[in-house]
Symmetry: none
DNA sequence: TATGAATGAGCCTTCATTCAT
DNA sequence: CATGAATGAAGGCTCATTCAT
């Protein structure tokens, strides 16, 4: 792998409804397996088996393992995007009350809770992105969009008086997204020693207008 | 790999001075290669080749690739530990003036700058730790020590009046270390869109007693 | 195959006596299999099996199927060279009586008779040489040497008064070697319709000084 | 391939005009690809692609790759036959002046020059014929016809007094056709070291009545 | 202590072929 | 007639590991 000898000749295959379904099945299978075994332990045979198709079918749809991996990024983007949708700038147009930063952190947390694989897969892909240009390109979009979303939240919070007015929205967003990613990493290493709720509460307090009392948690 | 067919029978070999040197050479070679190719692309043959020994020699010293990987964690711990030493709790006993949080962030940053491989290797191992118990166990120590170090810093900063007094030191430390790890990840994906200095400055401002004006940076 | 992704990293492996033997075994196995199944049907697994070693051993010694194929050319060169040795320019230095052209043709014929695979393998490689530069380079040497040998024969024959004096030795040699190769091809297609003895006798007669009577053969 | 699991059930399909055209397109595509990539590199998908049809269509018309290959022989026979037509026995009935042997060689040469693929394909099929009975059977006809044609030429030349009277027409024809085939092989290996014109001139001289002076060519 | 040689298990990919539409 | 989708059976190659020396 790694050095794609032949640019994926396939990928075009998804004309029919059924073809699209097969593609989704394969991507979903790959997604789950990445979470379970890591990219290091990902085998095309296993993907095909879990999707209930022959391994040749996988190549028929994606051509190459590398190509499938790139497609996975988009797949995850969709998954992840849907989770964060309510916070997206687009949703802000409605009369819906702006979501607080705290709520965003909570929802991000819940999202990872509900989709236990998401965090792992995201990290795996992040790492791969550092070495593989194709993955990187595809992955940047996710990050940009995510950062922009949080930036928007911060701006709203500040305007609404919920957050300190001296915040640099862009930098704050970068800090927050970084924190979330790092938190996932630490949780993976030592779930018992890291209380997401508690820590995210602390962060919220840093940014809040009225500095409430520090929460007394059992661990942090 | 993964399922070690035969528990590492070796590992005992490091009695002599020369043996210890060979071990170090191999570990250093592995360390560099992990940074360059990732765990996914790590090959025992390459490690041996870079260390200038036969591949059998590698197995003589480490028995198994898995065993070598565990040893790598300790190796990295040492490396990383030395970098952070001045900030370590142990160093606090001296009369040395307490380091500011800002300084810590800056130094962490510089440390990654000086050792460009460190961040990558740390991430790779973090990810592996999530799946491999042996790695996890070995890796937890690093994180715990690191978190404790930062916690100590926060406590000092608060006591010295440089940081807000209402901080939860433990949670703050967890947040900060998480941020640093996440920042490394984001930097790997899109170095151009992430200004570590600027963002860490923002964080520093959140925790500082006197909320200075937000820095006007080009990007964040 | 075809486009060697990685230039054969191996090939160096033949230091010891035993290693050289393994190499020879593998080449001999490949040689036989090419004759039996053709290059089209040549499988590395079969080669290894016939040589009585694991397929990995084959790659240990040759690195690539392509590399092995190039090595085969040299192997065949040796085989073929030994057969033609008496006619070689080098052998002419001795007091040995010069070999007649007829004798050369006869011996070439007997050589192919004794080594039934030789002709087939030679043809397969000739064909491959037209497309693969590596094979071509290695194969040109054989042809050049062969042509030179026959040219020498013609010159000697003319000088000795056995062959017509107006021959262009170089052109005659080219014609003769071409004839032999083409004859092998025709024999492969329709052995019953091609009597090598008879035809080569005819050619000999064309070049001879005293035009003897045409041989009355059963078929030609 | 090789061992056809299911005897070609198709092949019957060519009733309509359009069907015949499709067949021709596919054969022509296969013919070109054999010349370009060799039988070893011939892929049914490539053939279909070059013919502008789906790969299933190929199987609809020929059933099997093997069957298509047999059909190719006939296709080539036609092609080759048309080129040699003026020299064919059939054409001899007319009052057309008999073609000289030299002219035949020249024309054969020009034919290969004009149809650069022909020689290659012929050789590929010759080789295949040695192993595959079906191909062999189909291919023998071509050779027989060709040999008979040349034999006819020789006979005419002798009768007309242009060629030596002591020739064995059958053997001479076999020698000449063998030479041509071998020459094609050598040309493929080392075009720079083989001057067809010069060499065929030499042969012509051997057979001619009046032994002219050997041509002084640059190379042979 | 160190290594050259050898291997078993497995990986990604290819390709001729089939079948429902 | 023609095709898109799917597959079984390899095929070349890799890699961690072993073992005699």
């Amino acid at each position: 792998m790694a050095k794609t000898r032949r640019a994926a000749a396939a990928g075009k295959a998804s004309t029919s409804e059924l073809g699209a379904a097969r593609r989704r099945d394969l991507l979903e299978a790959a997604y789950t397996l990445i979470a379970e075994k890591g990219l290091e332990g990902l085998r095309t045979r296993d993907i095909a088996a879990r999707a209930g198709v022959n391994i040749s079918t996988l190549h028929y749809y994606f051509g190459t393992k590398d190509a499938l991996l790139v497609a996975i990024v988009e797949h995850v983007t969709d998954k992840f995007g849907k989770e964060r949708q309510p916070a997206g700038p687009g949703a802000a147009g409605a009369a819906a009350p702006p979501e607080s930063l705290r709520a965003h952190l909570e929802r991000a947390w819940r999202s990872f809770q509900d989709h236990p694989h998401l965090a792992t897969v995201l990290q795996e892909l992040s790492l791969r992105a550092q070495r593989d240009p194709a993955t990187r390109t595809a992955f940047r979009a996710v990050h940009k969009e995510w950062n922009r979303g949080v930036e928007h939240l911060v701006r709203q919070g500040a305007r609404a008086g919920q957050l300190r007015s001296d915040l640099d929205p862009r930098a704050a967003a970068a800090a927050i997204t970084s924190f979330i990613m790092g938190a996932m990493l630490q949780l993976g290493i030592d779930a018992g020693a890291f209380d997401f709720h508690h820590v995210s509460g602390e962060i919220d307090r840093w940014l809040a207008t009225a500095p409430g009392k520090p929460a007394r948690g059992r661990k942090a």
